[in-house]
């Protein structure tokens, strides 16, 4: 285990920001840390990086205690804080050399690492520019280059793609995905799509507690509610089509509404039943036309909404705990 967090608690003026959380991260894992604003993501990351003490609990990174062996821990991490603080009066290369030296790199190795991160973060063309004159995207990459420069075992990235344009997000995402070969990455984000694509495992934190922890795929599988198949049909009247679709044994509920010249039909079924083939047979048997037939995919966004939403929060949480997944 590279990261081991046991019963971590952090209180600000008596109000808990992180409330008794425990989790582990294995080497070379990319773990996504999700949660609404103010859920305790940044606090947890700051504690892991040794910037802030915890109120209670144990945190170890690569076997070293974050509180009592802080220097050893700091030698092994690369930390990118949320708003990417940089010395805006320095030039990019100069800044990276400075940071590399502070992280213990010297001489030829320092030069080689600076060149390597300039290359991998796409900073070659701006290496002589003053950081203050760079765009948000480039600054973000300078911060990322800084966190990578000493080849740390653990990378802690707090919202690395916030404020970037879609192209830049894709570049950073590819970069992070490539890091998984050599580094362990803990990535905080609230861009669910990004986490779903990049991470091996997802931790969802809400109000200082971990409410879900699993691979994105398994989390989606645990969602409550029915499956929904959507079909665009032409030929019959809405009432007739709806009636025949309801006749399919596995269908719990069906609806049909005109959608231009077509009828948009939804068939709900239990989670274990797939009714799309039956829907096709009914349509074909009646000689109607079928333009579209698909199952509505549910994604991490639904999981997120379910576990962090006000009234439904407990359902999935309990089911996860019941399965021993959290």
């Amino acid at each position: 285990m590279i990261v081991k967090v046991e019963n971590l608690t952090k209180r600000y003026h008596g109000r808990p920001a992180v409330d008794d959380i425990s989790f582990e991260v294995k080497p070379r894992e990319i773990v996504g840390f999700l949660g609404p604003n103010g859920a305790g993501k940044t606090t947890t990351m700051q504690i892991l990086a040794g910037f802030m003490p915890a109120t209670g609990g144990q945190v170890t990174v690569a076997g070293f205690n974050v509180f009592s062996q802080s220097l050893e821990v700091r030698r092994r991490i690369g930390y990118l804080p949320e708003n990417v603080p940089l010395y805006t009066d320095m030039r990019v290369k100069e800044y990276l050399r400075f940071r590399g030296r502070l992280k213990g790199l010297r001489g030829a190795r320092l030069r080689a690492r600076v060149m390597a991160v300039l290359e991998s973060c796409g900073l070659g063309e701006v290496q002589r520019q003053i950081i203050g004159s760079l765009s948000r995207g480039f600054r973000q990459r300078v911060g990322l280059a800084d966190s990578l420069i000493a080849e740390p075992e653990l990378l802690i990235l707090d919202e690395p793609t916030v404020g970037l344009d879609p192209n830049q997000i894709r570049q950073i995402r590819n970069l992070i995905r490539g890091l998984g070969d050599r580094h362990t990455v803990l990535l905080a984000s609230h861009i669910l799509h990004e986490v779903e694509m990049v991470c091996n495992r997802v931790l969802i934190i809400n109000r200082g507690r971990i409410v879900a922890s699993d691979t994105p795929g398994k989390l989606v599988g645990l969602l409550r509610g029915n499956r929904r198949v959507c079909a665009l049909v032409r030929g019959g009247t809405p009432e007739n089509v709806q009636h025949l679709l309801e006749g399919i044994p596995a269908v719990v509920n069906a609806s049909c509404e005109p959608h231009g010249e077509w009828l948009q039909c939804y068939c709900e079924s239990k989670k274990e039943d797939d009714v799309s083939e039956d829907v096709f047979r009914v349509v074909a048997a009646n000689g109607w036309s079928l333009r579209e037939l698909h199952e509505e995919r549910r994604n991490l966004e639904d999981v997120f909404a379910e576990v962090t939403g006000e009234e439904h929060g407990h359902g999935l949480h309990e089911r996860l705990n019941g399965k021993g997944a959290a």
Binding site: Q46, A49, G50, F51, M52, P53, F67, S70, L71, R74, R75, I77, Y79, P81, N83, P85, L86, Y87, T88, D89, M90, F98, R99, R101, L102, K103, G104, R106, D146
Partner: protein
Amino acid sequence: MRNFLTIWFRELSACFLSPVAYVLMVVFLAVTSATFLLDITQDAALDQPLTVTLFESILVWLTILVTVVCMRLFAEEKRSGTLETLMTVPVTEAQIVLGKYAGALSFLLLVTFPVAITLLLVVAVSPVLQLGDLDGGALLSGGLILILVSSLLVAVGLLVSLLTRNQIIAAICCFCAVWGVLLFGWIVTIISGGGFSTTYVTVTDHIRDFSRGMLDSRPLVFYILGSALFLFASVRVLESRRWR
């Protein structure tokens, strides 16, 4: 040691990366020479060595220089969040504090010493004043007290800068603290009604004595220990965020 040098170099070069350093140098030279020249022309009859006038006029403006240099030391890092990146690399608090201290102090000396030399050159080429008035020994001991006073004031300013993230508050508090240190001896004398001797801690007296050429080891100890005390306090304050 290497980390200390890295931070020192970064602090010193940071001063020259913004126009602040150059503006400070020019303004400091202007106001100090104005004060010095006014003093020697108006109080020509005053019976005091030239070196005393020189170092006293530097000291008056040194208080503002220290304030401007020190207010950003930590307040700026806290405000912009770079303290977070600085505190999460394998560098100890003592290295950070000493590196920043050395950076600020060396910048201060880089500004003040050329000014002192410039003013002496002005005096040397002036047809009115004879360079024969100058005492080489007094000049050296005056330079020494300038270094000592600067090191204490920077240590005080550094501690003040650590306590706030607002640069304006840092500047105001720093200015008050610096004058508090300068006038400490006087304040004690006034409060105690002249009850006990405060010459050991009266900075203005030390300046006068040293720039007359009166070397004394007791103020030496006072400044070194005083700077060490404030630096130690700064390291502790910076460390305290790890146990709060």
